[in-house]
Chain length 264, copies 2
C-alpha cells in the first residue's frame, strides 16, 4: 500500500471506495487527477438540467454525462461505477435530504442519468503550483461559499442565484490567479469577481452561506469563483421527486489529469 493516498492512481482510490474501505472526504487524493461532483436525475429532467449547465458553464462545468441507465462515465473514468465509487451520497426527495449512504445501487433506476460536474480542487492545484496560497487549505477548513445576487440563466424548472467560493489572494497575485484559473474553463475557470463583495450581493465575508469563514489578511483581496454548489442549490429549489448527489467533499476521482483540462 502506498504511503500517501495522494500518490495513488484514480483506480486504486476508486477500488478502496468501492470496497467500502474509504468512506471519507477525497481532498488531496490522487492529487494530479480531476475530482467530480455528482448529480443523478431521472431522464425526464435530464435535458433541462443539461441545458441549465450549458447556459451556466462557470458554476456548472460538465465533465461527463452518463447514458440513461448506465452507471459508467465513459469519458471521465471508463472503469468507474458512479453507484459505488463516491465515498458518500445524499438522497433528496422533493428537495429534502432523507438519506446519506455509501452505495446507491439499490436506488438506481433504468432511466437515471448521472452528471459529473468539475470541481475547484483542479484549479486549486494549479494555483498551488504557482505558489499562490489557498487559505482554507492552510487553515484546515472548508472553502467559504456565498449566495450572490447574480442570476443564473434559467432552463425549464431550474433557476436561481449563483453561489461563489472565496479565496483571499495577496493583491500582487490576484491577476496571476485570474490568469492561471482562466486556463481551466472545465473546472469553473476565471474568477467572477475580484474584490468588492457588496457588488455581487455579499454583505459579510465572515458569514458564509456554506462552508467556513477564513482569515482575510491585510494586503489581500477576496477573489470569487463560481461554485459547484450552485447546481445543487438550483436542483433542490426545483424539488424533483428524487435526486442523488455526492456528499460534500466526497467526490469521484476521475481518470482526467487536471492539467489536461487546460485550454492553453
Amino acid at each position: 500500500m502506498k504511503n500517501h493516498m495522494s500518490d495513488m492512481s484514480p483506480e486504486e482510490v476508486r477500488q478502496l471506495v468501492r470496497k467500502g474501505q474509504m468512506t471519507g472526504p477525497t481532498a488531496g487524493m490522487a492529487a494530479s487527477y480531476a475530482q467530480a461532483n455528482l448529480v443523478v436525475l431521472q431522464k425526464d429532467l435530464a435535458f433541462d438540467f443539461l441545458l441549465f449547465c450549458q447556459r451556466n458553464q462557470k458554476p456548472c462545468p460538465v465533465l461527463d454525462v452518463t447514458d440513461a441507465g448506465s452507471p459508467v462515465p465513459a469519458i471521465a473514468a471508463p472503469g468507474a461505477d458512479i453507484r459505488t465509487d463516491f465515498p458518500k451520497y445524499r438522497i433528496y426527495r422533493h428537495g429534502v435530504l432523507t438519506e446519506e449512504v455509501t452505495d446507491i445501487t439499490p436506488y438506481w433506476k433504468d432511466d437515471d442519468v448521472g452528471f459529473l460536474i468539475g470541481c475547484s480542487f483542479s484549479f486549486e492545484q494549479a494555483l498551488i503550483n504557482q505558489h499562490i496560497p489557498i487559505r482554507h487549505i492552510d487553515e484546515g477548513v472548508n472553502v467559504p461559499m456565498y449566495k450572490t445576487d447574480i442570476d443564473c440563466v434559467p432552463a425549464g424548472p431550474f433557476s436561481g442565484k449563483m453561489v461563489v467560493s472565496m479565496r483571499p489572494i495577496p493583491e500582487r497575485l490576484a491577476v496571476r490567479a485570474a490568469q492561471v484559473t482562466s486556463r481551466f474553463p472545465a473546472v469553473h475557470g476565471a474568477p467572477v469577481r475580484i474584490g468588492n463583495p457588496q457588488s455581487i450581493g455579499i454583505s459579510d465575508l465572515h458569514q458564509p452561506d456554506f462552508g467556513d469563514a477564513v482569515t482575510v489578511r491585510e494586503g489581500e483581496v477576496p477573489v470569487f469563483w463560481a461554485c459547484g454548489v450552485t447546481p445543487q442549490a438550483v436542483i433542490m429549489e426545483a424539488k424533483p421527486d428524487i435526486v442523488i448527489t455526492h456528499s460534500p467533499g466526497h467526490m469521484l476521482i476521475t481518470d482526467i489529469r487536471n492539467e489536461s483540462l487546460a485550454v492553453l
Copy 2:
C-alpha cells in the same frame, strides 16, 4: 445605409434578412460579431443532440439553445427570431434535403428546439488580426473540408466521424495559429492536427469532401480544425423525421462579439 455590410450592427443585418432584402451568404457581415450555424430538432431528440454536443465540443461548440417552442435565442441574440433571421434554410426529411426556404415559420412546431452552433468565422477573424493569411478567403472559395477517421463520442442515435476544415499556414506561423485559436473554445478552438493529413485519414488534400480545394504553397503546412459540418453530417446519418438547418454560408449574426468568446 452603410457603405459596407461589414460595418452594420447585427440587428441591422438581421432586419434586412428578416424583410427578405438579404438572402445571400453572410461572410464578412457585421465583422466583429459571431455568426452561428443552426440545427432545429424536435424536443424528443434534443437531449441526445445536446449530449452529443457536450461530448464533442470541438466540432459542436454550442453558443445557445432555445427553449422548446421559442424561436428566440435569449443568450446569443435576444432580439432575433431563428425562424426568419437566417438568409436561407434547408429542410431535411429522413436525412434527405427536400426544401430550401428563406423563412421556416410555416415549419415551426411547438416543441422545436433550436441549437446555435459556433462557426469558424470567429476564429478566422482572430487569425486575420494576427496577419495570418486565410487562403480560401484570398482565393474567394469555400473552406476545404474533409471527413477524418476520428470517431466522435456517440450519444443516443448520433454518431459518426469528425469533419475538419483545413487552412494552409506558413510553417513559422503554425504554432501562433494554434495559440490564437486556442483562445476560442466556443468556436472550435485549437486545431486538431498540424500537418500529416494521412494521420487522420485524409488521403488527398486536393479532393475535399465538402467545399473547395485551395493552394498549399511551398513552406506551408496544412492545419486542421474541427468543423461545424460534423453535427450536420451526424444528424443526417440519424435520419430524423425532420430537421431544419441553415444553408451553408447563410448564418445568423449574433450579438456576441467574437472577442468576448475568448477565454483569455
